[in-house]
Amino acid sequence: MSIPDLIFYGVSLFVAVTAAYAVFTANIVRAVFSLLGTFFGVAIIYGLLAADYVAVVQLMVYVGGILVLLLFAVMLTSRIEAVARSNRSGGWGMGLLVGVCSGVVLVGLAFSAPWKKVAVLSQAMPTTEAVGEALSGAAFLPFAMAAIVLLGSVIGAVTLARKSGEGV
């Protein structure tokens, strides 16, 4: 077993454990900090799969942006002294049944389906230049539409979170 394989299995275990902790812990702040480990691990998995640019974007957007947003949401909405029981859950039986069934089916499918694969993997190359050319060429229309979606979501979030009765 080579070193990258060991990295893959170690990081996978780390991702699974931190994600499971985020799902099953009752403390929402601990869940968010556990999610930090999950996002880091997924970034390492992207790196192992030779998608270096996506790995960096994952670190910047998820760890730097979404995680901070989640922390803001937690701190703004729950009383810190009541944080230990701010995360009650209901319907564990059916929920666990849905999760375990979908997980077993998907993992079984991953191993049993006859995936079409290339015989020899290409050498891992830096992808930043190719991704930039794709974004300014073939994928330019979705790129511009993503900009409009981001603008709309910012305006919508400000409108939703504003104190009512202020301004317009």
Partner: protein, 103 residues
Amino acid sequence: MVTVGLSQFLSLAAVLFALGLTCVVTRRNAVAVLIGIELMLNGAGVNVIAFARFGGSIVPGSVFVLFLIVLAAAEAVVALGLILAMHKRLRSVDLERTETLKG
């Protein structure tokens, strides 16, 4: 060079997706449901990148996952706004209490 196959990466993605689904279905805190959605989106991203890597061309998959990450960020922003509005109106982020439309 990684020698583990496509199936192992797909299994990791499946585990992430199943954990996120469990979180969305069982949690009552709106922020925890948002965490579950992010876990599922991460699983989908790992899935796409794994297929792109083992299917031969990584760049189209990378572009697709970039859009996925951008939309996840937009969704998180709007969800935060909704959670704040909900907390302002109901003084709670318990999804069991979002029943004001019930007659």
